[in-house]
Subunit: 413 residues, 2 copies
Amino acid sequence: MNIDQANADATERMIEARAVLVGLEKARDVIPGMHDNLLLHAGPPITWERASGPLRGALTGALIFEGKARDKAEAQALIERGEIDLEPCHHHQTVGPMAGVTSPSMSVYVIENATHGNRAFSNLNEGYGKVLRYGAFDEEVQQRLRWMEEVMAPVLKKAIEASGGIDIKALLSEALHMGDEGHNRNKAGSILYLKALAPHVARVSPDSDTASAVLQAIGDNALSVLNPVMAACKAMADAAHGIDGSTIVTAMARNGTDFGIRVSGLGERWFTAPAQIPKGLYFPGYGDDDANADIGDSTITETAGIGGFAMAAAPAIVTFVSGTAQDALHATMEMYEITYGEHKYFTIPPMDFRGTPTGIDLRKVIETGITPRVNTGIAHKEPGIGQIGAGLVRPPMVIFEEALVTFAEAYEI
Amino acid sequence: MNIDQANADATERMIEARAVLVGLEKARDVIPGMHDNLLLHAGPPITWERASGPLRGALTGALIFEGKARDKAEAQALIERGEIDLEPCHHHQTVGPMAGVTSPSMSVYVIENATHGNRAFSNLNEGYGKVLRYGAFDEEVQQRLRWMEEVMAPVLKKAIEASGGIDIKALLSEALHMGDEGHNRNKAGSILYLKALAPHVARVSPDSDTASAVLQAIGDNALSVLNPVMAACKAMADAAHGIDGSTIVTAMARNGTDFGIRVSGLGERWFTAPAQIPKGLYFPGYGDDDANADIGDSTITETAGIGGFAMAAAPAIVTFVSGTAQDALHATMEMYEITYGEHKYFTIPPMDFRGTPTGIDLRKVIETGITPRVNTGIAHKEPGIGQIGAGLVRPPMVIFEEALVTFAEAYEI
């Protein structure tokens, strides 16, 4: 067995995957295996019992949104009675930021990998403040979710269809030349997304006030494109999954309790360990003691070679973690130590257009002792509060060690 | 007389000027001194006889647009008979890219300096390809100009008014954190501009097809915001003009034949010398022999501390002049040698948010022998052809020498 060849194949598939946004559909109509009593969540599998505050809050909010519960006690009872199934987004070709909770009635972006044919999904981004993905679930959150479903989603669906598809990979390539790293900073990407949609939004909206409101909502939210970007990265990573003998990491995800990874050559198995508290800057009035452990599927961006791996492209983001422009360069340089390849399409102008470090190689993580660098938002540990900061986190080394031991056993090395 | 104090005042006024886009009006209704038989052009004063190909082409195109001539011979005859006056944009609080020709029936952006009260103007950007500003004037160009005036301008006018004003200085600050330098690269700025306008365009357009077409035109043109940016820089530079005893340069402009500068403490006088051929990359099939000498008022961006002076913010642009990211940093570093101050609001992430070099000091240019660095497009020397490349140019040193001698005489130093 030639591990290098397998890794070359996996990385090339990841890099050559062309992720195109082709539609917006109700989750129940399009996500494989989705059903009326299923909630998807970020990260590896978890039970209500072990779920963190923000995940419990988001699950509650989704059940209220679905009309199945009125409050947290009812939500908890439903789930504990086994009437609602909880499964990872990742088991359903889906990814979601932070709690990542996706329910049957929510609209999801449909991403198609035009190169290899696989698809991936992600829900709509709610914007900032009190939002479901950070575990908030009150009436304000519900109103926003309803507006998104009833007003914004029908317009977006028609606009995406009228556009003939939006090449999210090309959009990301451009955004990386405009100071985004594609995970914590999607400012350029979100207005490139607005630019692609705007002429269609104007045409397909039922009236000019609706067109105006939708354009405002997309333009004002500098994370508008995060969810399509995450689904695009999921489509890229999935294209690299299942290569016999490959040690390339194809998923990194956190449920707020555990950090989990999957490896291309090791099937559907998760390797997990307790998630850590991100290091970063807190909003005024908050600190480490308030922070939930690391949460969300957005680490799919680093898995696909952007986010923390593309820090050098986004020097303006360093203020987030109180660093310097030099730190941003070093962050990317460090990630070359643990990746198999360099991206052909995602390039970094301040590094003379060098490709981003892409395809985390389990072996290199172990050899160098360097774990992947992940940019992230920080959620309050209590449900209903929301984001309290942003920063940097790394997965626990032990999951890479376990994965490598398992790899050695599985392949009888 | 305290030159340093005068320069500190001038530079502070330039930096503190808050340029806001407040409207769009017909040139004849709003530009001071504009009349039916006046054409404004880029750079210092010039006659038809000495005008370069692209300027002649643009003057012809503007007279066709105004219904005063049918072809170049008629245009030339009108101008040479003295029936049409030619005056610099700069003499009328106006700036225009490349040929910069502005005629009475064209719509112009109205920029107001909210700090000091002065105003500045610039016409609409036509986009790429065969365009008036590069000297093209045929029916294709005329059709585009008519569509801009008849369809786009009324919508933009209402949208700008509905927005309550767009702070172009704030937009520029943001764009410099998104890989723009504000002169040759206005990619981020143009979609930030789209973002600011889009919700209003949707609401004020007569119908959804018009809204869609206007949003498409603004979004597709990565130079949409160049003209408001230039007028904003003009408002900033004008705020610094007329400070007794100041050696700060408040205008740099080229008419395709001469490069001219004005100095804060030296009134309305231009110091001029022959403009040079830019050094840069040509579109396939073109070379130095086809190039016109440097042309346009867009050097107002460098005058105000962006453009070539902010190269370090825009590493993606170096491919334009076949340089490296390091060259971009050096370009900005070099400009600190000849500027009085550092900008408070225009900052450069890859330099840890250092302010851009702002306020060219005549004395420092002479002392160091370093002339300002200007990014520019390259026009074909024959009228009617258009852009053939882009690159870098520097003004002739002799105009700074002349200005300093004049300064010494005027102030009896």
